[in-house]
Subunit: 227 residues, 2 copies
């Protein structure tokens, strides 16, 4: 349908490199129709090239999927490490993790949906690597929840299950969020942080901690747009 090329022309006034167009087309189509449901011909057509030209930039279809997933998992893990380094208290760490995760999934919906749903389409070798990177990220969340329970800031029965539940709830934003809604992304992220602080029964000196009362560094809130 050549939508890729004409869209590029409309936005930029000139044709962008085929490389980027192919990447954009693949993430759009994988998110919409699934990896296995998307043909290499569709990707080429959407990017405005032939299949032969596509294979000048890419070795296999799976490579496109893998690029998308690394482009999600690596920035997420980097941000989580940065947050743990820069923020001290468990409730502030958890809040910052949630706000960044939600913001990232709302601003990278296509790529995060693909990462969330297409792990089973990977070959077993690369799949193990992707799962390992995802586990690194989840382990940071688990430890933050566990730390909060250990020092009495959070009160939950099972930190491991709670961390998984929180993560799945926040990842879900990628599946339903539409930018046309009444809520700004900053407010949406804050709202999720508030839900999570309630869920873990976060409290200081017997009084519940709300997301709006926390002072977080702006980068920890995930609002630096270097993605």
């Amino acid at each position: 349908m050549r939508a890729g090329r004409s869209e590029t022309l409309r936005r930029t006034g000139r044709v962008r490199p085929a490389d980027g167009r192919i990447r954009d087309a693949s993430v759009r189509l994988f998110a919409q129709k699934g990896f296995q449901g998307t043909g290499i011909r569709e990707i080429a057509a959407e990017a405005g090239v032939t299949t032969a030209a596509l294979y000048h930039y890419v070795d296999t279809k799976e490579e496109l999927l893998l690029d998308i997933m690394y482009g999600v998992l690596d920035p997420l893990a980097a941000a989580a490490r940065r947050i743990v380094n820069e923020v001290d208290r468990p409730e502030a760490r958890l809040s910052a993790l949630v706000e960044h995760h939600v913001w990232f999934h709302a601003t990278n919906q296509l790529a995060t949906v693909v990462t969330d749903t297409e792990i089973r389409s990977l070959g077993s070798e690369v799949r193990a690597d992707v799962i390992a990177r995802r586990d690194v990220y989840e382990a940071i969340w688990r430890s933050v929840v566990a730390d909060g329970v250990a020092d009495g800031t959070f009160r939950v029965d099972d930190p491991r299950i709670t961390a998984i539940a929180i993560l799945q709830m926040c990842t879900g934003v990628a599946h339903w969020y539409r930018p046309t809604g009444p809520l700004t992304l900053t407010r949406l992220s804050r709202r999720y942080a508030d839900l999570v602080l309630s869920m873990v029964r976060a409290a200081r000196g017997g009084v519940p901690v709300r997301a709006d009362t926390l002072e977080l560094p702006s980068p920890a809130r995930g609002l630096d747009a270097h993605v």
Copy 2:
């Protein structure tokens, strides 16, 4: 690999009807490899029949997927309606909805994972119908949350977003739960209900409501095994 037939023999001592074997094979394979990633030949082989025999029972591959989804969405909606009819107060309704949803997703993991991830593989006509049935179910959750906010039992900023977040968190159980863990299903479901009651800040007379203090009819807890 003929695992379907030999598995049947080992469990029952005789060969079950091909119809059921085909259904079981399809849900196993769709959950593991995705709908588009599963071939009609694989399903037939796993069920211990030829592709020609398979087409004696089924018209199209999509019909197999649709049967799986209806087998998930219709019982879920029926249970939700039953709960709303039999249970009065918002915190008890929400708790019962959560416990049933979690229990159902843990005891029907393959089918619920397929239902949760393969809607995009449906043709547009049937897809609209599946989405409509899912929306019916979600609307019940939304109204229960909204009722609790309206009568002051729950305190959340945005009932609609909160209901979506809760549902996605509970649906996630199908993706990680393994029956070998230390937790019984009853306790797991109760734990999720507790997380949810915390999340909506459920309280009666100023004191937080916990899942263990609620008296729910056993069917509302979702422990009647007619699935």
